[in-house]
């Protein structure tokens, strides 16, 4: 991979990390708050259904994770297992698509 592409991945990884730092903090705080006294579908959906704020938040969260996780795994596969090349990148693109599709399906599921 050329230097420019490496630099793009590096910047994308750090930028998504910065976004995720905020998202994960909010997500953790919301979880700890929400699970007090038990959870129910009705309780979760009453908070998220029709809420544009949560829709935007979780969309940003899913997209940031979709960028972040495959780039992170790419480094692990290369450095720990010496795996590089097309097959690895095809697998990572597959993971990217999987995260995007399943993630947005879940986000829309709690919004609609």
């Amino acid at each position: 991979m050329n230097v420019k592409a490496q630099a793009v991945l590096w910047v994308a990884q750090r930028a998504s990390a910065a976004v995720l730092a905020l998202c994960v903090t909010v997500h953790l705080a919301t979880m700890v708050y929400a699970i007090r006294g038990g959870l129910s579908a009705a309780e979760i959906l009453s908070r998220t259904r029709g809420s544009v704020g949560w829709l935007v938040f979780y969309t940003v969260f899913v997209l940031a994770v979709t960028v972040h996780a495959p780039i992170g795994l790419r480094a692990v596969l290369e450095e720990w297992f010496g795996w590089r090349g097309t097959a690895r990148d095809v697998l990572l693109v597959g993971l990217t698509l999987l995260l995007a599709v399943l993630g947005m399906r879940a986000v829309l599921g709690v919004f609609l």
Binding site: H27, L28, L73, V76, L99
Partner: protein
């Protein structure tokens, strides 16, 4: 191999990242599938009440907090002039993970 603080912090960051990447598709799939009906979602929530599953959930929350702490450490080392703070940053990351893990365990 001697395990220095920075090496250990990087290892925890990496391992937690791998496990989170494996967990996420399952997490998204479970939410997306069960939300088709409130009853299915409540069945999933009931399943999460088993002690072993609760323990697993707590582990995932701890992994997430550890990865957040480790990530903030990396960002601080790369973007802030704090290179002499290696050990303090690693300690802060560990403290953050423990604090979140404790808060979640108390709320469970």
């Amino acid at each position: 191999m001697s395990l220095h603080t920075g090496t250990l912090a990087a290892l925890v960051h990496r391992l937690s990242g791998i496990l989170l990447a494996l967990f996420l598709p399952v997490h998204f799939y479970a939410i997306g599938t069960t939300l088709e009906s409130a009853a299915a979602f409540d069945a999933l929530l009931a399943w999460t009440q088993y002690p072993l599953i609760k323990f697993g959930e707590w582990g995932i929350v701890l992994l997430l907090a550890a990865h957040l702490g480790g990530g903030l450490r990396v960002l601080a080392l790369e973007f802030l002039p704090w290179r002499d703070w290696q050990k303090s940053l690693a300690a802060a990351a560990a403290a953050l993970a423990l604090a979140v893990g404790l808060a979640f365990a108390l709320a469970l």
